[in-house]
Symmetry: C2
């Protein structure tokens, strides 16, 4: 411990800022489920996602999708049907989250086993 220089610590703080940047985008109750849904189904309408995710309200879905759009993770496409339908899909950048989601899924499974016990 005594050998740790200021640079060493600064390097770590930089890393922490990066993880927090990531978590700022992904935290909350619904972001990951939404991304997960779009990952799984590739292309999805508003009401489909509403159905994919148990317990989410339209208000929340709308709000979260907007934030994901702002963060360039999701692309919104309005189709001029009657009545209008709207498609959501992950951008290329959004797709780069796939590995993380998969890892989190796997970890979630083993964690539950660990906590609840089997």
């Amino acid at each position: 411990m005594e050998c740790q220089t200021k640079d060493f610590q600064q390097e770590h703080k930089k890393e922490m800022r990066a993880v927090q940047d990531a978590m700022d985008v992904l935290s909350g109750k619904w972001k990951i489920p939404i991304i997960s849904s779009l990952c799984y189904y590739n292309q999805r309408r508003f009401s489909d996602i509403l159905n994919d995710i148990d317990g989410i309200s339209n208000r929340m879905l709308s709000k979260e999708l907007k934030e994901l759009e702002i963060n360039l993770l999701v692309k919104r496409t309005v189709l001029d049907t009657q009545p209008v339908s709207v498609h959501y899909q992950l951008t290329d950048h959004g797709l780069t989250l796939r590995t993380i989601i998969d890892n989190l899924t796997a970890w979630g499974v083993t964690h539950r086993r660990k906590i609840v016990g089997k």
Copy 2:
């Protein structure tokens, strides 16, 4: 899309529950920075962590460490020195988060570049 069976959807909902389980443990402002700190330094005292993480209060650190302990991610050890010092370290189970944290860190970096522009 039309070929998706009920089973297919149920499988996906299971996966989503798993990611949410993971996020329940990791969400919030401080959990990941704390784990990151313990990952980096291996063993750390309360006041050290307080120093590692910019902006965290002792109240929050105390609270978050307790939750991490309950989730078996962190082990607390009291050393009978005068005055007492307390060591925190990741459990084996906590260490399994390393990959995820590394991935999130890397993703955070590219995401910031993407959003802020370079």
